[in-house]
């Protein structure tokens, strides 16, 4: 049996439908990432599973229990890391862990846990004086202090420096190895790709794709070649030349439904060369998770050109930022450019 089972979940706030028929499962010893743009319904889904909200329709079970009705029984068996805050600002880190430890029958050793998340040196520092990354790691420690069977992490590495990220990722990997069921919400594709065993992509309250990172990157959309060139080239002529369906997905972004064999790629570049057209970008085969994500969650062709940028969750409307800033340093993508 899955640790978490969500069936046709609907969550409404008044007349707004935040979650519109989501089904998913999460298992022990695995990390499930819930991925989606702001307002996609990730938080509403997770908060319903955590017992904060009631279902409007559908069903949710955690460890075989009802999160709202059996909240008391579940509270010792789940660990929750909120996106931000949740800790007394004046309380020193060590005191916070010791206080939370007293709520459980068999907690972790507070000192060992603090050391594990790399906070032993700031045990006496009040929460408000910790850096953003330290606050996140303290929040993670508090979620784990009761040795939970199911752990919910909301944007666990948002605002965390690279060293802190490594520490948090190591802790999450350790949780999985020990058989804990981990549910991660994020809109950092990189994070999901690195950490998750399964990814559920949510958009506008619905699940739009689901699978392992590898499945999502190869299975969806099939074999194809994508390239960037000036908008408005003759796709009918291109299709005829390559011998495969071609279309302009959005202005200047082209897609050919054909296996990315050297012959097909050569046919594309030759066709462009004959017309003296510049090639901006060429990708063949496996899609980056980001491309899958953008294609699936695009509201309109224009918006699809804007990748998600991490760390903007608090600024409504700022999550879609134009351009390639996010991927500029990504060697895998750069390596695939053959322009």
């Amino acid at each position: 049996m899955a640790e978490i089972e969500v069936q046709d979940l609907v969550v409404r706030y008044g007349s707004t439908v935040a979650v519109d028929g989501v089904s998913l499962e999460a298992h022990a010893g695995a990390v499930l990432a819930l991925l989606g743009p702001n307002g996609a319904g990730k938080t509403s889904t997770v908060e319903t599973v955590e017992g904060y909200r009631s279902v409007s329709a559908g069903s949710v079970s955690v460890l075989g229990l009802d999160p709202v009705r059996d909240h008391r029984a579940l509270s010792a068996r789940i660990g929750v890391m909120l996106q931000r805050g949740g800790i007394y600002p004046t309380m020193p880190a060590g005191e916070a862990v010791r206080l939370f430890a007293r709520f459980y029958a068999d907690p972790e050793d507070p000192a060992a846990l603090l050391a594990q998340v790399g906070l032993a040196g700031v045990a006496g520092t009040p929460w408000r004086r910790l850096s953003g990354g330290e606050q996140q790691r303290l929040s993670l420690a508090l979620a784990l202090v009761g040795r939970p069977e199911v752990v919910f992490l909301d944007e666990p590495t948002a605002g965390v420096d690279p060293e802190g990220r490594l520490a948090i990722r190591a802790v999450i990997a350790g949780l999985r190895d020990r058989g804990v069921c981990v549910v991660l919400t994020t809109h950092e594709l990189d994070e999901a790709e690195r950490l998750a065993d399964r990814i559920v992509i949510v958009d506008r309250g619905r699940v739009v794709a689901e699978g392992s990172p590898a499945e999502l990157m190869t299975g969806l959309g099939g074999d194809h070649i994508r390239f960037g060139a000036p908008p408005g080239i003759d796709v009918v002529a291109l299709a005829a030349a390559v011998g495969a369906p071609a279309r302009e997905e959005r202005p200047g972004e082209y897609l050919l439904d054909v296996a990315p064999t050297p012959r097909a790629v050569a046919a594309v570049t030759a066709w462009l060369a004959e017309r003296d057209l510049p090639l901006a970008d060429l990708r063949a085969g496996r899609e980056r998770l980001e491309d899958v994500f953008l294609r699936l969650t695009a509201t309109d062709p224009g918006a699809a050109a804007d990748p998600m940028v991490p760390g903007d969750s608090r600024v409504p409307g700022a999550s879609r930022v134009a351009g390639d800033s996010r991927v500029a340093g990504d060697s895998r993508r750069v390596g695939r450019r053959r322009a």
Binding site: F100, R102, F103, Y104
Partner: protein
């Protein structure tokens, strides 16, 4: 790594007995005493008012009271109860709500009854400290309490419940900054209309009627009655305190938003 290893077959359980309640109560008391502004509010201001107006005899006293401290001590004890139960609790809870602390605690095995219980116990603990210090200072200033101090305790407890209800009513419905301002504003109004530093009898009769219906006026009436020669608390004060002790927490419970 030792952490997060729930051992196979063992289901994590809440701590048994009163351990979570004790831990949370101790944390609440520590945080209250650690906050400079709450020490100012709960100790420095009451002690300062008591000392200043006992030594500088400028305020009106009721007929028959010889030393200012004999009138001031019960009134300042009432003020101390109000500052801890209403202002201190309201402001702290408002910010805990805003910072997501209340939301975070909901998914721990602490539970709301224990959280509420811890807050009540912490208020009572701080009040014991306040009373000890204020009584000591008042005795040093020559206060000679009379009457029946035993009646002061139930009056203070009833008033604590009513004031705590008012504090939580603000904390659960308003933004933390608004709660901060509202609690301090209400503190001033209730102080001036509370018969705490000068007698209600020096107020115009219309205002006096309103003041007697407020929990601050009723508590200072009760404490003045209980701690002066004769030692009787007017029935009206008991009724007013009891009504506030029921209505204010009920209103808070009905309107409180945890997030």
């Amino acid at each position: 790594m030792s952490a997060a290893g729930q051992t196979a077959g063992r289901t994590p359980a809440p701590a048994g007995g009163l351990r979570p309640l004790r831990a949370q109560t101790a944390a609440e008391v520590r945080m209250t005493l650690r906050r400079g502004e709450s020490v100012l509010l709960t100790l420095a201001i009451p002690v300062g008012l008591l000392v200043f107006f006992s030594l500088v005899d400028v305020l009106p006293k009721p007929a028959g009271v010889r030393h200012a401290v004999d009138f001031l001590a019960p009134g300042i004890l009432a003020l101390a109860v109000m500052s801890t139960a209403m202002v201190g609790l309201g402001i702290a809870t408002g910010f805990e709500r805003q910072y997501g602390v209340l939301k975070r605690l909901r998914t721990t095995p602490l539970g709301r009854p224990a959280l509420l219980g811890a807050k009540i116990l912490a208020i009572l603990a701080v009040e014991v400290v306040q009373v000890a210090i204020l009584v000591g200072v008042a005795l040093g200033l020559g206060w000679s309490p009379g009457g029946s101090p035993g009646l002061a305790v139930p009056a203070a407890v009833l008033a604590t419940v009513g004031f705590a209800g008012l504090g939580l009513l603000m904390a659960g419905a308003l933004r933390a900054e608004v709660t901060l301002a509202a609690a301090n504003g209400l503190y001033l109004v209730l102080l001036l209309l509370g018969g705490m530093v000068f007698p209600l009898t020096s107020l115009p009769s219309g205002i006096r009627g309103v003041a007697r219906a407020l929990p601050s006026g009723a508590l200072s009436d009760a404490l003045h009655g209980a701690l002066s020669a004769g030692g009787s608390v007017p029935g009206r004060a008991w009724v007013v305190l009891a009504v506030w002790a029921v209505l204010a927490p009920a209103a808070a419970a009905a309107t409180f938003r945890w997030e």
